[in-house]
């Protein structure tokens, strides 16, 4: 069957088997290997991508079901050569070791911060609780997401300040 979807902003059209999982479509057909596969039972979350802005486990979505939808993967987090604050936070706070769960964790984190720019520690832990990390013990992942939230808040505040300066400048 033919499937058409938007992946990381670009429309893709492919002939696929109806049973093909989205995770294998992304990895094997589109070469987007940043999305990983770690279990057969939707427990580990290494395969988390966005579908229409919401995190989904791509091992539990048929590629055909993503037809007509917008999919976003870890490869799209960096924009115009700038790492997303979530990516920076993971680096700054040692939120990754082997890196295998990291793309899924970051996609969930990005979605969380879009929904709630200032989540509590408990909310962060709940948001990532459908995903497993075997290396970090989670504390540094929590700190990474807090780092991203704090830096985005700081950047937003700075933006407001510079907007205010510009406005003041124009007024004078």
């Amino acid at each position: 069957m033919q499937v058409t979807m938007k992946v990381n902003g670009e429309e893709v059209v492919r002939e696929i088997e109806g049973r093909l999982l989205l995770v294998h479509f992304l990895r094997d057909h589109l070469g987007l290997t940043g999305t990983h596969w770690g279990c057969d039972t939707s427990n580990c979350g290494t395969c988390v991508v966005w579908m229409d802005g919401e995190p989904v486990k791509s091992c539990t979505v048929l590629a055909a079901m993503a037809g007509g939808h917008e999919v976003r993967t870890v490869e799209d987090l960096e924009q115009n050569g700038q790492l997303d604050p979530v990516q920076q936070g993971f680096m700054e706070c040692h939120g990754l070791q082997c890196g295998f769960c990291t793309p899924g964790m970051m996609m969930t984190a990005r979605a969380l911060l879009n929904r709630d720019p200032d989540p509590s520690e408990r909310e962060i832990r709940e948001a990532i609780s459908g995903q497993i990390c075997r290396c970090t013990g989670y504390a540094t992942i929590v700190r990474s997401i807090q780092w991203a939230a704090a830096n985005e808040a700081a950047a937003a505040a700075e933006g407001e300040v510079s907007d205010a300066v510009v406005t003041a400048g124009s007024a004078s």
Binding site: E17, R19, L20, H24, R27, D28, G31, L32, T33, G34, T35, H36, W37, G38, C39, D40, T41, N43, C44, T46, V74, E75, L77, E78, L83, Q87, F90, M91, E92, H94, L96, Q97, C98, G99, F100, C101, T102, P103, M106, E121, I124, R125, E126, I128, S129, G130, Q131, I132, C133, R134, C135, T136, G137, Y138, A139, T140, I141, V142, R143, Q146
Partner: protein, 797 residues
């Protein structure tokens, strides 16, 4: 949660001030991982690549009557179907294990555990390969399985290993250490003797990335390139040469980025060998990646020790002797990955951190109808089991003597002036200063305040527990005279080349599974040679491009390969000094080293940088007499001794009286791993191990039913902690360098996995004290805790 900022200052250290070398530094490997550009085994795509899938036994013990592969072979997209019979024709049906046993690559006569490899299919794509497995028809004659190790030696037990000539029972090996008679004499005269049965259940490392391989055999030049998930690429290459008969120089093993290992990726699994055969048979590259169930049911498990611990002491709490009897379940094949002379790994350190008079251990290992393995999951070669035994039995003694468990430990610590300390089982602890580490943990925890809080809560009928453990590990195997794996001495090579412009490449024999080698090893070399870590490329995981060595497991990387990296840098520096003496026209003795440059003693203005020297070494100008051009060196490091990191852990739990659910409220970990290279990475290693500890103590177990069916075959059944089951970790450190390691570092990769389970179990048991509970077996799930609260013993399986 306490945030980074409002924690006590001693919880964190920050050596950012140091421009080069040791200190907190962000990881060099992160930029690719953050962008989804890691390169793991399943990311490898080669032109014309085929896919392999393995048919596994659905039963634990059965004779194979027949295998019909005709329907699978007839599938239009199937390229090959191979059974054990097919491999036997090539002499490849069996392979040696790392413990001098043999293991079936594909079963020929019998299947001996559920999930054992029976046949493989090679097809055009991964889905078809799986489809075709359904088309293979195997007829089994079901046999009674041996599931409970305690009945493996019953005269009526079916013999599992009838492939071994003359084998009439399920006995695997016996092992003992210490002095039986001296220990018995101390026990006979002691005021107090406490005995406790303990089970360390079978658990599984379950790295997020399962095991896999891509085999690419080039028929024309006879060269095999094997990409595989291996923590020990060089050792694997040698073993493939022996097993498959391919000359070693025609084998290249590449270990790409590994999505975690924890020991799971040390053994050679049948799947790797099958992938090699598949590539040879089809003439194409062949990929095999196991699924999660395959990983959990067939690859290296860990633990599975049934132990009796006994401790003898004076009534004042001076520990006199420790004795243990162990029944070890090794599964269907002895696949333990441990030095050959150490069939029980380093379990001999079960005397712990205490100065005692006598010790003895007797162990019997048996075969059962379960997956092979035995040493995996960050256990430092069975030290997890040893530390659990001693730290649990010491708590049982404290319970009987009505002593505070911390005070009992402090009273019995080996004292700093006793190091190097030879234990009663012959291990030479290199350095230690235990009491300050214990005291720091108590200070961070607010131990006395916690005890007061607990007393108040007990008054109100609430269940709060405080658990303590103090561990000493033995990591960094060799020395090679004592330690080898199938004859390969446990040493590690390292090569360092300084390029003409002063940039460098360092090549390692060890392989990272997430530990951050690309950063840590650049820092080790930077500290010694004065080139910034950013200018040092770390190459690892490719046997064609790195020197020989035994790989990463048992926390070996820093103690062995880290020493090699420091020493090779010093060797290069020695040559650089001679070249510098020529450049500055002074004698070598008149030069002094400032990190990154040599200057004339007493005249710092006359100096040359390591970069200047590198260019001179490769340039056209004269070099001092007898000095060859170039600036590089290679060494092979053979450690003098193991290193002995230690630590003090305190766990605080609350138990819901109504549901018996255990909540780990706080966990304080103070580690001493000697010299600290990158504190950020060390903290990460500790955090991960603590989470393993919560998993093992409270959640994880590979259980079997009476027919030998694995009940932990998926992540729905084998429970691993998520962010909700673990607290924010509180860490601290002390520094007691190793006297024999070139930079004093000891290794920390497994410390927390080793040290945390007893702290958590001790905390749970402490919380249950009002119920008269002295012990309960892991994993302490709500149902087990409930049983303990009702006075029922916890089930062992």
């Amino acid at each position: 949660m306490t945030t980074v900022e409002d924690r006590p200052a001693h919880v964190f250290e920050n050596n950012d001030q140091k421009p080069v070398g040791h200190g907190r530094m962000l990881r060099k490997e992160d930029p690719r991982f953050l962008r989804g550009k890691g390169h793991y085994i399943d990311d490898i795509q080669l032109p014309g690549m085929l896919h392999m899938a393995i048919l596994r036994s659905p039963v634990a013990h059965a004779r194979i009557v027949s295998i019909d592969t005709s329907a699978a072979e007839a599938h239009p997209k199937v390229k090959a179907v191979v059974t054990g019979e097919g491999l036997a024709a090539q002499g490849l049906a069996w392979m040696p294990t790392l413990s001098n046993d043999v293991q079936a690559v594909l079963a020929t006569d019998k299947v001996r555990f559920q999930g054992q490899e029976v046949a493989f299919v090679v097809a055009e794509d991964r889905y078809t390969a799986r489809d075709a497995l359904e088309l293979i028809d195997v007829e089994y004659d079901i046999l009674d399985p041996v599931v409970d190790a305690r009945h493996a030696l019953d005269p009526s037990a079916p013999v599992i290993r009838d492939d071994l000539e003359g084998k009439t029972d399920n006995h695997c090996f016996d092992w003992e250490t210490g002095d039986e008679a001296a220990t018995e004499a101390v026990f006979a005269a002691a005021d107090v003797v406490v005995s406790q049965d303990l089970v360390y259940p079978r658990v599984h490392p379950a790295p997020m990335e399962t095991c896999g391989a891509v085999a690419d055999f080039e028929r024309i030049d006879g060269k095999l390139t094997l990409y595989s998930t291996t923590q020990a690429p060089h050792a694997h290459r040698t073993l493939y040469a022996i097993v498959a008969g391919i000359p070693e120089h025609k084998i290249r093993v590449v270990s790409p980025d590994l999505g975690g290992g924890f020991g799971n990726k040390v053994p050679i699994y049948p799947g790797y060998v099958c992938a090699i055969v598949a590539s040879i048979v089809t003439g194409k590259p062949v990929k095999w990646v196991e699924d999660r169930s395959e990983n959990l049911i067939s690859t290296g498990f860990a633990r599975d020790y049934i132990m009796r611990g006994e401790i003898a002491a004076t009534k004042e709490g001076k520990i006199l002797a420790i004795r243990t009897n162990v029944l070890a379940d090794h599964g269907a094949f002895n696949g333990t990955a441990a030095p050959v002379k150490y069939p029980a790994g380093f379990f001999g350190v079960f005397t712990g951190s205490y100065d005692i008079e006598a010790a003895y251990c007797k162990m019997t290992a048996v075969y059962t109808n379960k997956a092979p393995g035995g040493v995996a999951y960050a256990c430092s070669f069975r030290i997890t089991e040893a530390v659990y035994l001693v730290e649990r039995i010491v708590d049982c003694l404290a319970y009987e003597l009505k002593m505070d468990p911390v005070q009992l430990r402090i009273k019995n610590f080996i004292q700093p002036e006793q190091f190097p300390y030879t234990t009663k089982t012959g291990w030479v602890y290199d350095s230690g200063n235990y009491e300050p580490t214990m005291r720091l943990a108590m200070e961070i925890a607010g131990y006395d305040e916690l005890r007061r809080e607990q007393a108040e809560k007990r008054e109100r009928g609430e269940l709060m527990g405080i658990g303590v453990s103090f561990f000493t590990e033995a990591v960094g195997a060799g020395p090679r005279k004592d330690m080898d794996i199938l004859g390969l001495g446990m040493a590690d090579g390292c090569e360092l080349r300084i390029h003409p412009t002063g940039k460098a490449v360092v090549r390692l024999s060890v392989q990272s599974q997430g530990q951050g080698h690309e950063t840590t090893f650049a820092q080790i070399v930077a500290e010694e040679i004065g080139i910034p870590p950013a200018d040092i490329d770390v190459v690892h995981g490719d046997t064609d491009n790195t020197p020989f060595g035994l790989g990463t497991y048992g926390s070996r990387s820093t103690p062995v390969s880290g020493a090699a990296a420091a020493l090779v840098a010093r060797k290069v520096r020695d040559k650089a000094r001679i070249i510098a003496s020529g450049m500055l026209e002074v004698s070598v003795a008149d030069l002094e080293w400032q990190k990154g440059s040599f200057n004339v003693k007493g005249d710092p203005s006359k100096s040359v940088t390591i970069q200047d020297i590198a260019m001179r070494a490769h340039g056209a100008a004269d070099l001092p007499e007898g000095i060859e051009g170039g600036l590089e060196a290679q060494i092979c490091y053979n450690p003098d001794n193991l290193t002995y990191p230690f630590g003090a852990y305190i766990c605080v739990v609350d138990i819901d009286k109504g549901t018996a659910e255990v909540k780990v409220r706080r966990f304080i970990a103070v580690d001493d791993c000697g010299t600290r290279i990158n504190p950020m990475i060390i903290e990460g290693q500790v955090h991960g191990g603590l989470t393993d500890g919560v998993g093992m103590a409270l959640m994880e177990m590979i259980a079997f039913d009476e027919d030998g069916n694995c009940l932990g075959a998926s992540l729905m059944d084998y429970l691993i902690p998520t962010a909700l089951e673990v607290p924010d970790w509180e860490t601290g450190f002390t520094v007691t360098p190793s006297p024999h390691h070139p930079i004093g570092a000891k290794g920390v990769g497994e410390s927390a996995t080793v040290g945390s389970p007893p702290a958590i179990v001790n905390a749970v048991v402490d919380a249950l004290k009002p119920f008269g509970v002295r012990h309960a077996d892991m994993p302490l799930t709500p149902s087990r805790v409930w049983d303990a609260m009702q006075g029922r013993p916890t089930p062992s399986f």
